[in-house]
């Protein structure tokens, strides 16, 4: 575990906790769609960031934390891709099937868990990324705009069958 990775995790954690609590409060129907996979450990791995994200979407004991890759728990399901692609997928601005078929997204482990998570997120109206950015006011929105500019998602053929 590098010191940089550890430090990044510590710095980002309060933000993640705030973000996930807010999303859970605003979109409670998300959990129903996850069904039995509320208890699944998802590892979301944005390849350019110095850490991965561990999500256990249990409404009674929500876990969303940054973890150094070498200290990550054995995941029930793994979703790996570029950070902006993962962000756009969360917002349903990208078609998950198309991203996966084009191999920009890597999935392993419990496929049903991933399908449930994706359907649950797809049922959220509006942009979770924009909502998150708005929590931090003008600076938050500026950071998101900059991220979108600097890391445009590749065109992934959004309509593969």
């Amino acid at each position: 575990m590098t010191a940089f990775s550890r430090l990044s995790c510590v710095m980002i954690q309060p933000l993640l906790t705030r973000v996930v609590r807010r999303i859970a409060a605003r979109h409670p129907s998300l959990f129903a769609r996850l069904g039995p996979h509320q208890a699944t450990d998802f590892l979301i791995d944005p390849i350019e960031l110095p850490f991965a994200l561990h999500l256990r979407p249990d409404p009674d004991a929500l876990v969303f934390r940054a973890v150094p890759r070498d200290a990550a728990p054995e995941p029930g399901a793994l979703i790996r891709g570029k950070f902006m692609l993962l962000l756009e997928l969360m917002d349903a601005e990208e078609d998950g099937d198309a991203a996966f078929f084009s191999r920009d997204l890597e999935i392993s482990g419990d496929t049903e868990a991933v399908v449930r998570l994706r359907n649950a997120l797809d049922d959220v109206d509006g942009s979770i990324a924009d909502e998150t950015a708005a929590m931090f006011g003008a600076p938050g929105r500026a950071i998101l705009a900059r991220l979108r500019r600097n890391y445009p998602t590749q065109e992934t053929g959004a309509f593969a069958p």
Binding site: E94, D95, D97, F101, R118, G157, A158
Partner: protein, 332 residues
Amino acid sequence: MSLAELICPAGTPAALRTAVDAGADAVYCGFQDATNARNFPGLNFTPDELADAVVYAHAKGTKVLLALNTYPPAGKVDLWRQAADTGARLGVDAFIVADMGVADYIAQTHPQVRLHLSVQAAASSPEAIRYYCERFGVKRVVLPRILTIPEIKQVRKDIPCEIETFIFGNHGLMVEGRCSLTNYLTGQSTNMDGVCSPASDVEYKRDADGTMSSQLAGFTIDCFGPDEKAGYPTICKGRYTAPHRPDAYYAFEEPVSLNLSRLLPELIDAGVHAFKIEGRQRSKSYVRGVVTAFRHAVDDIRAGRPADMANLVALTEGQKQTQGAFETKKWR
């Protein structure tokens, strides 16, 4: 000229609102159980969600069609009957059915609600279609994807109901409603449990060299090189080896996508009443893109303007597409 209604998929309430806002004339959806042929995890509607969806759609002049298009196993019809009762109570505009028992129950119990015959019923001859019309009062048939346009035109003349055809999306061509491939590998039935290649039986395996194989219930359905586009492990679209074919080949179907955008004027001319877009399992982003593009195209054609087909062709970006049997019986 026929009305050329646009019938759009909705796997979630958000996708339904997206389809309605993008200009769908009708949306089709299902409950979170085996009563419909897209019984996928995390997809579909609870009765409360459907109630809200009907209100939303009707406020914008869009119809809601409820898919009850699977076959109840013997002695287990209650789930289908309850779903029909709930749908009727919530004010859906039509039921899409395949099973005769389900059709009969609705015809007798909810005669005020329209019945559409699902593609899953595989009714392609005038005789078969007329039987459903006469016996159960079916108002519309969704034709199996096996007829050419001249054949559709002829069928239209010989039946007393409206015709709906698929125009875009996944292209599975087994005798519809009869495919047992998933059943054979997983024990679950596409036609009774409502799921083809259930996600719980799907696994993706990646090798160190970047090769990825897709598996269903432990059987390898396909294997993709590091830079090759992948696909969902749909059995009919897998690549297999055989003693006479040592190199893997598409034994049933190639993974092509149906796109009839170029044939829309001819289909309207043949008397097709409604165009169906496949994809309740797809994302909002897919629904938004496809419905918007076809809305413009159909409006242009109806107004006598040339439609921007380039837009529609681009929808399958890089993906192989076909006009299937609609253009020729020799598509493969």
